[in-house]
Symmetry: C2
Subunit: 239 residues, 2 copies
DNA sequence: ACCTGAACACCGTTCAAGT
DNA sequence: ACCTGAACACCGTTCAAGT
């Protein structure tokens, strides 16, 4: 892995796989994933479309590599932390990275089935921490899947893009204001709280309306749930 | 809402918003979201591309309507069930619907920020059940967000499409087989179990490798976590 | 090795024109 | 009201040709 950025005689950054990935990330974060195109980033870099294909296989693997770049930015917490503190820290770090590039967020939920050896370190770290917590065998794998599935899933859904369409937003806005309190009494009861940020009800993406409280609650809930499962698995041990 | 399907004199199904949506869903489920196109479904229906636009606003709202159609298929469990049983049943129903149309799954995580009054019933039902469980105020909204965020997020991530690219699969397969047990001891320990289904590690989409056990564990974990939060909120009450 | 220039087979969407 | 036919401005990707 080369860390130096090559430059040509004019001082321009030389075209590079790494450079293309960075440009792609910046472009997506500014204009949204739905407006990303190979030709677009070729324009951005100031080169013919075909030139991109010298450095990059195709569109989907470029996007996968952008996703990989994002994961690289996630810092692994100190291994010596208590397991629940560690999980919470990892979750916070992961979400922070995606909230720095919110419009690229869907990439991770969409394209990252898995991706190269890069991720083995992350997986191993999570497994290690959960092992220290006391999980073993299938229970360990389950706990791992719960953590990663809920974390990545939650943030991915949080960052789901809103249709920018003004007409659409207006329509949802009206439906919300004219909500029938008789038919939906529980919603009516919690109207203001829900309006400050709730899945499905919201009319904005997390770019404009981050669901901080919801995320905090989700992390807390999952950790409590894991603790509870742990106690059932090890009925002999005390606290 | 019309339930009858109109037919023309030749007995062909008349072009309809509803018919288009159904065709779109079928097409996506067969050929994948990445291969969906307006022109493609026009071909499918046997009509000029522009004809679609008479019945449907544009591509993204069509996809949103497909997503809405999917949610309509989710059955709400009986309101009289105990809250934890109810939540588990809802989660199972939701996942079952998406696993019937796995390749359309990403639509829900991607496009459904929110969508018309359709969803108010679902939201109100969840809030009602959690209210009966004992959640109030912000705690109620938090619990709702945790349930919906983890559920939709988890399944969305589970159904993330794998790049069908054979080269890619082979490369991941090799990395996995040649995994360095020294560097990644926890992974090596749980190698077979992880191979049977784990996020990030997997080389297949949930279409071929459903993460049943992981989902079961996630639902269980979230419910246990909510129960634990409930006990902390109501320290006066007993059991 | 790396890029140009042109080409191919596609898109989504619009619009006049038909019936 | 509903569809045709053609057009416009885009795509992703390939390939010969240049340097």
């Amino acid at each position: 892995v080369t860390r130096t950025t090559r430059k040509d005689s004019a001082g321009n950054v030389a075209l590079d796989r790494e450079v293309i990935i960075r440009h792609a990330l910046a472009y997506i974060n500014e204009h949204g994933l739905e407006n990303f195109s190979m030709r677009g980033i070729a324009r951005e870099v100031g080169v013919y479309p075909a030139a991109i294909y010298w450095h990059v296989d195709d569109r989907t693997t470029l996007l996968t590599e952008v996703a990989g770049h994002l994961v690289e930015l996630v810092e692994l917490p100190d291994r010596h932390l208590p397991w629940d503190v560690w999980i919470r820290a990892l979750a916070t770090n992961y979400r922070q990275v995606l909230h720095r590039y919110p419009r690229a967020g869907p990439l991770l939920t969409l394209n990252v089935i898995s991706n190269s050896e890069l991720y083995f370190g992350l997986t191993d770290a999570i497994l290690d921490v959960l092992h220290r917590a006391g999980f073993r065998g299938q229970g360990l794998v389950d706990a791992y899947n719960v953590v990663i599935g809920c974390l990545v899933g939650f943030v991915g859904f949080e960052l789901a893009p809103a249709p920018l369409d003004e007409k659409w937003v207006k329509a949802r806005e009206r439906e919300w204001e004219e909500l029938d309190g008789q038919r939906y009494p529980r919603i009516a009861d919690a109207y203001e709280l829900l309006d400050r940020g709730a899945f499905v009800i919201r009319r904005q993406s997390a770019v404009d309306l981050p669901l901080d409280k919801a995320f905090e609650a989700a992390v807390d809930t999952v950790i409590r749930g894991l603790r509870s499962r742990l106690q059932d698995t090890l009925p002999t041990r005390e606290r």
